[in-house]
């Protein structure tokens, strides 16, 4: 099984069309994810990024085309998924440890508890993202960054081969963003293939190996760096305003008057 997985691409998309109520959001999409990749898909809201993610995760059936995860369909434990934090009810009565344990539901069985091995795995996952000391806290008591790390720990608990993140650093403070970016880079260095989507070029972390731009249902210019074409295609900002920002540990920042005003 492991050898088969090593021979297959983590993600192989061919001729994929998907959308809602028969209306395609994107058509004929091709995309590959290599072993150890760290891909960021950037693009404006409404460009089709979340629909692509949902289709890969099997939440939306494709209209046509194929999505292969290691040569097969998406299965529990192979892919870890971190949703947008605003999709979760923060008043839900649940501790950080219980959130992380949810990721281990892949080991099935009708029982109301998690066994010692599962708890140990959850503890290791929490330690890896630095939130073990928060394990008994309610999620309602967490900061945005702490909650995001809890969700990453949940996704990592079953030791997935691919980690998919939907806007992982949206609405986080700059310092917390840096910390989350470091965690993602470390996860990728440990051999996990990472794929994330973001609408903000300022949220692309340093460790990213490939950047693709998605807009109007198309992916363009899959390259290691942000290009002028990407900016023109995906955003309305002129490329000359694009800044490389070392100080804040962001890889890119747009300094056009409109974006500067938004960030203020």
């Amino acid at each position: 099984m492991r050898e088969d997985m090593n021979n297959e691409l983590p993600l192989r998309i061919r001729g994929l069309s998907a959308g809602y109520d028969g209306n395609p959001v994107f058509e004929g999409l091709d995309l590959d994810l290599m072993h150890g990749d760290f891909l960021a898909i950037v693009g404006p809201n409404g460009g089709g990024k979340t629909t692509l993610f949902k289709t890969i995760l099997g939440l939306i059936p494709p209209i046509s085309g194929t999505v292969e995860i290691f040569g097969g369909s998406v299965s529990a434990g192979i892919v870890g998924y971190v949703p947008q934090s605003n999709s979760i009810d923060m008043k839900y009565p649940i501790s950080v440890e219980d959130v992380v344990l949810m990721g281990l539901r892949v080991k099935k069985g009708l029982r109301p508890y998690y066994n010692k091995n599962e708890r140990d795995a959850a503890h290791r996952s929490m330690e890896s993202v630095g939130i073990f000391d928060l394990k008994d806290r309610s999620i309602s008591e967490l900061s945005g960054g702490q909650f995001q790390r809890a969700m990453i720990a949940r996704a990592l608990a079953p030791s997935p081969k691919i980690l998919m993140l939907d806007e992982p650093t949206a609405s986080l403070d700059p310092g917390i963003k840096d910390c989350t970016h470091d965690i993602l880079r470390d996860i990728n260095r440990d051999g996990v293939t990472v794929m994330m989507i973001t609408h903000d070029i300022g949220n692309i972390p340093h460790g990213v190996k490939r950047i693709a731009c998605m807009n109007r249902g198309m992916i363009i210019n899959d390259s290691p760096e942000i290009t002028d074409e990407m900016i023109r295609f995906g955003f309305h900002c002129p490329p000359e305003f694009l800044r490389f920002n070392r100080k804040m540990d962001y890889k890119y920042r747009c300094a056009c008057p409109e974006c500067e005003e938004e960030s203020d």
């Binding site: 998924y81 009565p93 649940i94 501790s95 539901r105 029982r111």
Partner: protein, 287 residues
């Protein structure tokens, strides 16, 4: 003054019915509250009134003797649950609109069927008893059935606890973790419906929502764990319901309404207590 020693054996079944209903509502109601299904539960409960009316009509006019009001309520409630479950993911239909439709149609159908029944064949419960509960007249057979059905629901919830927790916390991830989301959602709707039918005996159709939501909301103010919320909601609900029943006997007022009023007052006190606790915590951390 009421002679408690003398009257308590008379009310024994009433107290037992209340305790069973409170435990059931504490557990099932926790999923209702955390999954924001309060309106859904209200819709199912009110649709059940149509089933009660239809059962009386079927028994008295169509001579279908097996279709008791409880079965009628269960059938209409399950139909409502199925419709709401199916429409919850439909983009073209808003679920709250569908809740409103079922809520109103259920009540209207109940009134029409009750008016068409033959009262010379069967004497129905009063509207008041159906809508606001008739716990004083819970018989032994109803009590045994409530106990068995409630025990079965608690076993199902225990076995599917992890699935329900994932489903109600993050349904998108539930699918990825191998949970059969449509099946689990349907089971949850069915459990809620059956619990509503059982609780109808205690507080009636209109006040089911109170037992399902208020104790859970109260426990939710102080607890950060789903299991603890279920346990404390059941305990709080039982304590206040028993206290409410004692008050209803002492002051000769309707028991179902008294129970709801007592639980409602306790909720207000709990909110104030939580506010004071939070303020003192902020002050102590500031010094």
């Amino acid at each position: 003054m009421t002679d408690w020693i003398a009257v308590l054996p008379i009310y024994q079944d009433m107290f037992l019915a209340a305790v069973i209903a409170c435990i059931l509502c504490g557990v099932v109601g926790t999923f209702v509250v955390v999954n924001r299904m309060v309106a859904v539960t209200g819709g199912i409960a009110h649709t059940m009134f149509g089933g009660v009316g239809f059962a009386y009509f079927a028994m008295s006019v169509l001579m279908v003797s097996w279709l008791t009001p409880m079965w009628g309520a269960l059938i209409f409630g399950l139909a409502a649950a199925l419709i709401l479950s199916l429409t919850s993911k439909m983009k073209r239909i808003r679920q709250d609109s569908m809740i409103g439709v079922l809520w109103a149609l259920g009540m209207a159908a109940g009134v029409i069927f009750m008016s068409m029944m033959d009262r010379s064949v069967i004497t129905p419960h009063s509207y008041e008893a159906i809508l606001f509960g008739d716990i004083l007249f819970v018989g032994s057979s109803t009590l045994i059935m409530m106990a068995i059905v409630s025990a079965a629901i608690l076993v199902i919830v225990a076995l599917l606890y992890r699935e329900f927790q994932i489903l109600t916390f993050d349904s998108a991830n539930a699918h990825l973790l191998g949970v059969n989301v449509p099946l689990m959602r349907t089971i949850l709707y069915v459990i809620i419906t059956v619990a509503c039918v059982m609780v109808t005996n205690v507080v009636g159709i209109i006040m089911i929502i109170a037992l399902m939501t208020i104790p859970v909301a109260m426990a939710n103010l102080f607890l950060k764990n789903l299991k603890d919320t279920m346990i404390y909601a059941s305990v709080l609900s039982t304590v206040f319901a028993v206290f409410g029943l004692f008050l209803s006997i002492a002051f000769d007022v309707p028991p179902g309404a008294t129970v709801v009023l007592v639980i409602g007052c306790a909720f207000v006190v709990a909110i104030l207590l939580k506010y004071v606790m939070d303020r003192s915590a902020v002050q102590s951390s500031g010094t």
